[in-house]
């Protein structure tokens, strides 16, 4: 212990080493974060801060158009993105991870193959799918017609009823590698003797998955769910690429980040800064609030299961 003490850096030297990173972080992260909180409490004329208005910007968000109707709609779409991701991305990821865990052959190869879309830029992924789904030359509709499903082929991104589900599926296609890798790691760390014990007791593989593996995975499922919630709330590049900044068609793919972006930089409203900062703070509070509440609740569930 005393030898360790001699290796320590004297504090003044340590501070010197710390200085460049701390300065960069303070100027471009801490300072903007602190000022953002005050931005929403003032009224603005263009880029000039005017007077302290308290919660007026937040009230405006819920009482004046277009925010009054666009905010709940965008928020509802984010919630659907989350629900869709839980089903199409995390459940599929868990099942694929479980199947891969059961067999040793080509496990690494499949992990890498399934994770490939995760490594491409989300904006590129969004634009790629907008081309693949094109009603003019899109291979997706051509493929559906080729296998006799003419009735199913349609302008997927042009129809308000299907556009948001396209966003959900494209996001899931890109992100499935994330739950796959996390659940794969968790499965690898489980004690194999519990599986063997269940097998000796005559449990079928479905029973073993449902009654043995799944309860042991609950802490990881909780973590993945919270992260999925955060990512779904902050979804930006894929909706932007598929529906543009206005969430076309007819606002069917509008989400919170796009609403924030339009309000801050394209609304032309003189108080754009005040209102858009209020949008950002509402989004931030929802993310933090739900994440904390969910984590608490999930700890309770975990305790009951174990």
């Amino acid at each position: 212990m005393s030898r360790r003490r001699t290796a320590a850096l004297p504090t003044p030297v340590a501070l010197l080493f710390l200085l460049p990173a701390a300065a960069l972080f303070a100027v471009f992260v801490l300072y903007p974060m602190a000022t953002a909180l005050t931005y929403s409490l003032f009224s603005w004329r263009g880029t000039a801060q005017e007077e302290f208005v308290g919660a007026a910007n937040f009230v405006a968000l819920f009482t004046t158009e277009p925010y009054r109707s666009q905010l709940p709609r965008a928020f509802g779409h984010n919630a659907l993105l989350f629900a869709g991701a839980m089903v199409a991305q995390n459940t599929v990821g868990l099942l694929l991870a479980y199947v891969l865990h059961q067999r040793a052959r080509f496990r690494r190869l499949f992990q890498v193959l399934f994770t490939m879309p995760y490594l491409v830029s989300p904006l590129v992924v969004g634009y790629l799918w907008s081309l693949l789904l094109s009603p003019l030359f899109g291979p997706v509709n051509a493929l559906l017609r080729a296998v006799g499903l003419d009735a199913v082929a349609q302008p997927w991104l042009g129809d308000p009823d299907t556009a948001l589900w396209v966003v959900v599926l494209v996001t899931a296609w890109q992100w499935v590698g994330f739950p796959l890798l996390v659940y794969g790691a968790a499965l690898g760390a489980l004690d194999p003797s519990t599986q063997e014990a269940a097998m000796l007791d005559g449990a079928s593989s479905a029973q073993r998955f449902w009654h043995v593996t799944l309860p042991l995975l609950t802490p990881v499922i909780g973590t993945v769910s919270v992260l999925t919630f955060i990512f779904s709330m902050e979804a930006f590049p894929i909706p932007y690429a598929l529906g543009g900044s206005s969430g076309s068609p007819a606002g069917a793919t509008d989400v919170m980040s796009l609403l924030f972006y339009r309000t801050a930089f394209h609304s032309g409203a003189s108080n754009a800064i005040g209102v858009s900062s209020a949008v950002a703070i509402v989004l931030f509070l929802v993310i933090v609030g739900v994440s904390v509440a969910f984590t608490r609740w999930f700890r309770g569930v975990e305790r009951r299961l174990t």
Partner: protein
């Protein structure tokens, strides 16, 4: 009785795995082969393979659609910001790992809290900050912002790694009369290379792919990075589909190169703790 079960299972498992592999990969392959087909071919045979590969679309994207400019900007911004953030984070991580003052522990907490940054909250103040200091719409401004937001992750990974290194070598260097900077440079730097490789790769990818910061912070077309370039390009070349595919390939290609160069780090990072 038990026989057919496992065989059937194995068939189902293989169908599921190879089936999903097709779903994951074919869209990426279509992106590549549609970029070497002409627009007429794309319309007449949406499911066709390239007959006579043509690289006209790449020339159009690179020269006419200014992808050469966007590409160089992306390389410059990504390399400079990753280099800057890795350098300052390494110094900071050394200080945090080798000091035991209370103050340092508090500073480390502040850094780590930045792992969950609310980017939408920060972006408007950053926009006006850059404007105030004369860096609005410049690559320098973008480099500084990217370097700053990379600090939490880089410091976290590097400090964790440094704490696992035994400090005997540093003791020896100090006894031989080396100062802290000399010890850092000659003794630690060669040892932390694997952690530096991890940090570089894992910051390079999100910064190269990022679209949010330049969309808002860069208004001048000459300073656009590839992702923002792509958004204007998709507006202007709506009907030149093979050019659009070529643009997507160009934006993805450097990542492919990075993966080929650093497969080991990436697989190790992605599958860390995956067991066997």
């Amino acid at each position: 009785m038990r026989r057919p079960g496992p065989v059937l299972n194995r068939v189902v498992v293989n169908v599921v795995l190879w089936g999903y592999a097709v779903v994951a990969l074919v869209p990426l392959l279509v992106m590549v082969w549609n970029s070497v087909r002409s627009d007429q071919e794309l319309v007449s045979e949406p499911l066709g393979l390239p007959h006579a590969p043509s690289f006209d679309a790449y020339r159009a994207a690179w020269v006419e659609a200014s992808f050469s400019t966007y590409f160089l900007n992306s390389v410059l911004v990504t390399v400079a910001s990753v280099a800057l953030s890795t350098a300052v984070s390494l110094l900071a991580a050394y200080a945090l790992a080798r000091s035991r003052s209370r103050l340092m522990a508090v500073i480390e907490q502040v850094f780590v809290s930045g792992l969950m940054m609310p980017v939408f909250l920060m972006i408007v103040p950053i926009f006006y900050l850059l404007d105030t200091i004369g860096l609005a719409s410049t690559r320098t401004g973008l480099i500084l912002v990217y370097a700053a937001v990379s600090v939490p992750f880089s410091v976290f990974v590097l400090a964790t790694f440094l704490r696992q290194l035994p400090d005997e070598l540093e003791d020896a260097a100090r006894i031989d009369g080396a100062g802290p900077l000399r010890t850092f440079w000659s003794v630690l730097l060669p040892l932390v290379r694997p952690a530096v490789a991890t940090v570089v790769v894992f910051r390079f990818v999100p910064i190269w792919n990022d679209f949010f910061y330049p969309l808002i912070l860069v208004r001048d077309r000459a300073s656009y990075t590839l992702p923002v370039g792509l958004t204007t390009f998709f507006g202007e070349y709506q009907t030149s589909w093979s050019t659009l595919f070529a643009g997507l390939v160009i934006a993805t290609l450097p990542l492919v190169v990075l993966f080929l160069v650093a497969t080991r780090q990436i697989v190790a990072g992605l599958t860390a703790g995956m067991g066997r």
